[in-house]
Amino acid sequence: MTIVRNRWLEIVTVAIIGVSLFRSMTVVADVTQGDVQRIMYVHVPSAWLAFLAFMVTMVGSAAWLRTKDQRWDRLAASSAEIGVVFTGLAIVAGMIWAKPVWGQFWTWEPRLVTTALLFFIYLGYLALRRAVIDPVQRARRAAIMGIVAAVQIPIVYYSVNWWRSLHQPSSARSIDTPLRITLLLGVVAFTFAYAVLLRRRLELARLEEELDAKRFEQSQSVAGADITAPSLASHPHD
């Protein structure tokens, strides 16, 4: 068990998140948006974490197809689960932010639309994983879907971006240095959080596989052994 060992990563992560939160609350308010803009310091890092997680899923998928090593499948699956959770969180936080700033919970901003679609794409990926029982079959199908999804995502993003640029040009706006540092700190903090979560999720995946192997060892059921002689009286030659 590795719970006690390597605790330092957890400790560092909690510390960085704490510093990041403190800084998010105390940094000067944004000139135009005021205090509401502070939501950005958790919203953007959440979204970043989700993108990072899905990228790792793609890498894991491709690596599984190359090596057929189940460790890569565990990486892809674990990362996708974390990604889906944080995509959901980023979307909800984004909507809360949008309400006061844009006057409504949702706008058809390309990043928002793409993120929402990412949520469903990887929800489907996780659903596919749940639906396949055999680990190798599951890994193979999930890897293929993981790669097809990853290939499509940039196209999804560009098509929405393009569509949007025709309708409502988005106003680019640079942000001030202290604010940018705060945001960067948030991104770093969430990246650490990702590392911690991924490690734990990987441990869970490994344990579940071990558990499966143990159960298998104890049952050792051979397909044919499940069938016994019928207890119904037999009359073979009547």
Binding site: D35, V92, I96, V101, G103, A172, R200, L204, K214, Q218
Partner: protein, 49 residues
Amino acid sequence: MIDLVGAQVSNAWWYVTVAYTVILGGMAAFVGWLGFRLRRAHRELDQLS
């Protein structure tokens, strides 16, 4: 980066609180769920061996 409808929202901190609660709460919930599944897996593994 963002199109603004109205600047300087009056109850800004309320929105900030809700958003931070969602993100941090969601993170905590995920950590809790992960921990629960980890403990359960450990327990079941112990029971089997």
